[in-house]
Symmetry: C2
Subunit: 380 residues, 2 copies
């Protein structure tokens, strides 16, 4: 648990303005630098926008993952989703980066739906968590993963295959550790105390290095994993960790279900998207058009610009022009918001179509695809 | 966790000379009295020796179980075994009482093999625990349960069917509770912290009252169960609890794998049985034959007598005569030991035969019998 003077980051809470550099130093990660980006580019030819713009900005052992890939040993990907409610844009875009990695390196991907964790950590009913699991899985499948190389599983329904391994892992982790790492208390329930063992299990699914693309708040799990992996004869988990897409309402914290204004949900309709961006997206512009023309805006605190920069405007020349025009005052806040709205609407429209198609192929990811079939036979 | 001045009883440790009356008061159970014994006898006609002699001596809600039985609602039985090593006589005889209850009341019985717990609580390898699970299950089946009304399962292999319920239960139990009840510490591993939820699961297998025949050291689990059962719409667990068969070496503690002299193992051969009883069985006799003839022996501290009384000498007239003859000095310590040895050898011989047969029918208890088949289809 990292709780600093001005901000707080745990797998369950992000508060305040996150100092991402400080997190990297405190957690002991490395920055994604040009050197490692160039090594990736050697293999992928082009670079994903989230890597180019360093939205995925920190890593552990990514260099060793690339070594293994180059030696032909390969690696595998693992990420997940806690199904506590509808997914918003901020939840989904790391999956786009994961899909890019799968496509470029042609590797297996495991996606854990942590329905147990969300039930244990929230006041939700078991049925609600099951409903959100299904809804979220459709959103994830819509991203376009390879159905023969991707296995999506809910903890409660795959536990028969993984409980023995979770038990073995759990013997190596005590209350002091989870208290120190996650801030668990004496009042924490015994299910959530056990849960970290379950999130570690998939890092042992293959005897290759496991690369985890995820937001940096998940790092505490991987720190524990790295302390015990070699005892079990497996590799320490490697990570490539992202920042949080800032909430619409400003650069602090992360988008939150408890404040619907802070996020664009994947189910938001055109009117809602326009309204949210126009009304709530925090602007780096000036108070009046006259002032804006004169002084220019500040793209670095402007949420619309940040969203375009992190993900939605893939074209480097175009984002550079937007940045300059905004700074010079040529581009107004309202116009910047219009650019984002257009991108969002086109993204959501495509997403909704692919989400419908996902209903027809969900069985491939969970049961009938090549990797899923193999996994259903395995007992760990 | 009950830790009194002179003795200690937890599910993992029994130390000192147990004051069984004090345990009942501290745990809040009721004594098995003549009134409840007569109510049982109304239905069973005859009374099992362990009930007649009050080896099963305490209960919770046994009166309500009988009410439910009389009203036609019925009840079910649940007990278990922690497979940490070979079984000895003390482990097995409560199963004989359980079998008697099943036969007389014609009810379903669930037997949980807690391989996860034993792995988490000991320094054993996972493979050792699996080996002992199989060996112990054969010993249990040899007792003669109804293969269509008995379901035996290992936690690690049945977890797929019960994890969701364990998760629901675990949300209602926090670290403070398991610390207070079991004496868990900050250094306890997160697997054993979660485990109490798993031991509670089978009390919810049917929407009837669950009667648990077990040694009294398991009571802490049922106290937690009774605090949360009604929240889940189930009955508070009922118990009928036994004392421990005293170790050969004297009336303190319970038989222990770490001291093989203290116990008769189900695999002990004739020579070993004779040697152990003759050499190590604590005697209430006098130092010399002359003194013994003159002063008589004390059956109440004599382990051979206690074993005969609690289980091996079913005949009330005969045990009375043994008691009197021993007290009067007519029966010598060596002769008393011979009586026990004969009973033990005949018991073990029959057991070994039935244990061989168990290998052929183990599948009925775990997969193919009527109850097992039904349970394999259920997800809790």
């Amino acid at each position: 648990m990292i709780k600093m003077q001005d901000f707080k980051v745990t797998p369950w809470e992000v508060e305040g303005k996150v100092d991402y550099e400080k997190l990297v130093r405190e957690f002991g990660l490395k920055f994604v630098d040009d050197n490692i980006i160039n090594r990736i580019k050697n293999h992928t030819k082009e670079l994903n926008v989230m890597l180019r713009r360093k939205f995925f900005y920190a890593h552990r052992d990514l260099d060793l993952v690339l070594d293994d890939f180059e030696k032909g040993k390969g690696f595998f990907l693992y990420t997940g989703r806690g199904p506590s409610g509808p997914m918003h844009i901020g939840h989904l875009i790391p999956f786009y980066f994961t899909k890019w990695l799968q496509e470029k390196f042609n590797v297996n991907l495991y996606i854990q739906i942590t329905d147990d964790e969300k039930y244990l950590e929230r006041e939700l009913s078991f049925e609600e968590v099951q409903k959100w699991s299904y809804e979220n899985i459709l959103d994830i499948i819509a991203v376009g993963f390879d159905p023969n190389k991707t296995f999506i599983f809910k903890d409660t329904e795959f536990m028969g295959n993984i409980y023995s391994l979770a038990v073995k892992i759990s013997r190596k982790i005590n209350f002091s550790v989870v208290k120190a790492v996650f801030g668990f208390k004496e009042s924490s329930n015994i299910g959530i105390l056990f849960y970290p063992a379950i999130q570690i299990v998939p890092t042992f699914f293959e005897n290759k290095r496991c690369l985890i693309p995820a937001a940096i708040d998940q790092d505490p799990y991987w720190r524990i994993q790295r302390d015990i992996a070699e005892y079990f004869g497996y590799y320490k988990a490697a990570e490539i960790s992202s920042k949080f897409l800032p909430p619409l309402t400003g650069m602090q914290g992360k988008m939150s279900a408890s404040n619907p204004r802070s996020a664009i949900y994947l189910t938001d309709d055109e009117k809602t998207v326009k309204e949210k961006v126009m009304k709530y997206a925090f602007s780096g512009g000036q108070a009046t058009i006259e002032l804006h023309r004169k002084l220019g805006g500040n793209p670095y605190i402007d949420v619309s610009f940040q969203w375009l920069y992190s993900f939605f405007e893939d074209d480097d020349d175009r984002i550079k022009k937007i940045e300059e025009d905004y700074k010079s005052g040529k581009l107004l806040s309202g116009e910047l918001k219009e650019i984002l709205i257009e991108k969002l609407l086109s993204f959501l429209e495509k997403h909704k179509e692919k989400r419908e198609e996902a209903k027809e192929i969900i069985h491939l990811f969970m049961r009938d695809g090549e990797l899923a079939k193999e996994m259903r036979k395995n007992r760990f």
